[in-house]
Subunit: 338 residues, 2 copies
């Protein structure tokens, strides 16, 4: 079967590899219908994270169950399923408290940019859709497996809701879908920080009420101006850099909430500033699995179209071009048809 | 009148100064009944914070209203009052959201280690007691003006409550009163981290169910052992150093809550660690004023005795000895009788 393998920064190839097998009785193997390239895949692609050995890429996936291990009871071959990038047993105390992405048996998915992929912890990870989806639903369902769920967590962690002014720092797929999530959660005002015309347009379509093009201190100043000098109630951080984290904390009013979902790289938060900012800070790998039933329902009913973040669709064989397009910011997010 | 003045690290004197006056129509002047030395007063005393000019010390206070400005309506001369170290107007949006310690008109109190003190924002800051308190209630009411309210905020920020295992890092007055607060808030299990016998005893009296003497990584390991490997639901950080902040974050389970109320000094939190820890982090200068009515009621009814943290009582004239005793850790907290 085909699999996308990263050999070194900038070096992504589609190779023929042996098909994955059931290794544990709790595993499933699924045949991918669609997969995609994640913003976090760009960290090693750009050499910011090391690539020591060739690695099978991909952790976002939708597809049809091909085979299940002997202990799997909640999904069966032939079902169309959506899963999370973080697998979870669904039964441990951390899962039950709403944090499956920190499950005590968590294994992060890999190798989903392929024809077939093995999914550990299948029972607690995979959610079957109500039926076999039409092709036009695939991008939406695929988005649910990571970027939508991550943006959703950002909005939940920032306590977006009725009466709240929400600011979103970052206009990648996650940031844009945090706008969509804030809208679904009932936020009164949603300020998207973006200087890219196309992304601004999508943010407005997803529910943004205001666009702020300034960044850093000027961006913070602008948010303060828009919020009677106080800062936003809720700020979603969807980048993961020092600048964006500070921008998020400083854009939040005392007692407000920062939801940070950009995977942090070289970020150091000053304790004194955090102390006197008096914000709530919460984030991390999104507990996507906890949201999947609701997200799938919203998609199935056609109430949300998160798949619009895929502004490039290519066959799996052209994965290298998908990476290049995202690296060069020619595409927000690239879907790979399998 | 007498006032405690710090001239340089280690140099604290009681001096005769001019009595404070009403400067703004929203001010009150109170005659102190008791005041005390704060752990945070030790930062400049130890030279960790600079002392550029001689400074009037003291921000914890209870006493009788002497005079009020023309716009003050909620307290009148002759009333016994308790206030917060952070003054607040009580009407701004931040106050109304429960964060008076970040009031847009906040002024931090100073000069309360004295016979008389000026309190800005009197209407939004001072809370009268139901009557003139007996002398034996003074330590309890004085504790409410800072250390009790701060420990309480730590426990609230850590979401201490029924069914929760709460860990308290720091066995100073604030940490000990965070134990008391966690108990009042209904926590199931309260683990106090302390290696001082006398403080351990007080922690147990205040409601601690377990004592952990280990610190740093060993302390984290011990908390994990006591919580099925997961970490505590709620952790209060009441020190403010890099080591104690890390100990707090690492002792908390994914999805759990860290309430940090130790004034941070030279703390830098690694974003990646915070991200993957998946904890909630909230803290800062405690919104004591928001809790005062409840705290005064609990004290008035004799349900809590937070004043037990004062293990040294001296007349105001001996303020220098009070500072020395706390600096040398001979006293948890020193009350000054005025």
């Amino acid at each position: 079967m085909r699999s996308v393998v990263m050999h070194a920064p900038g070096d992504v190839r589609v190779e023929q590899l042996e098909a994955p097998k059931i290794l544990a009785p709790t595993d499933a193997v699924i045949r991918l219908s669609a997969t995609c390239v994640c913003g976090s895949d760009l960290w090693p692609y750009r050499g910011i994270e090391p690539v020591k050995n060739p690695v099978r890429m991909g952790h976002e996936y939708v597809g049809v169950v091909e085979e299940v291990g002997s202990e799997v009871t909640s999904v069966r071959p032939g079902q169309f399923v959506v899963g999370s990038f973080a697998t979870s047993d669904g039964t441990c105390e951390i899962c039950r408290s709403g944090y499956p992405s920190s499950c005590v048996h968590r294994e992060f998915m890999s190798g989903a940019q392929a024809d077939l992929a093995r999914v550990p912890n299948a029972d607690g990870t995979l959610v079957p859709t109500p039926g076999m989806p039409d092709a036009d639903l695939l991008p939406d369902l695929l988005a649910a497996s990571d970027v939508l769920g991550t943006g959703w967590f950002g909005a939940v962690a920032a306590q977006a809701g009725p009466g709240k002014t929400v600011t979103v720092v970052g206009d990648g797929a996650v940031g844009l879908l945090a706008v969509l999530a804030a809208k679904q959660l009932g936020a009164e005002r949603i300020i998207a920080m973006s200087r890219h015309e196309q992304r601004q347009k999508l943010a407005l379509d997803f529910g943004a009420t205001d666009i702020v093009t300034e960044r850093g201190d000027a961006g913070v100043e602008r948010i303060k101006e828009l919020t009677a000098g106080l800062g936003a109630h809720s700020v979603v951080e969807a980048v993961g850099t020092q600048e964006s984290m500070l921008q998020a904390v400083r854009s939040t009013r005392p007692g407000g909430h920062v939801g940070f979902v950009g995977v942090n790289h070289d970020v150091a938060l000053d304790g004194t500033e955090l102390f006197f900012s008096q914000v709530h800070l919460h984030g991390g790998p999104a507990p996507v699995r906890a949201y999947l039933p609701r997200l799938i329902e919203l998609i199935w009913r056609g109430e949300i179209n998160p798949g619009r973040v895929f502004d490039l669709q290519l066959p799996l064989d052209q994965a290298a071009e998908a990476y290049r397009a995202m690296d060069e910011r020619r595409a927000v997010k690239a879907l790979l048809r399998v």
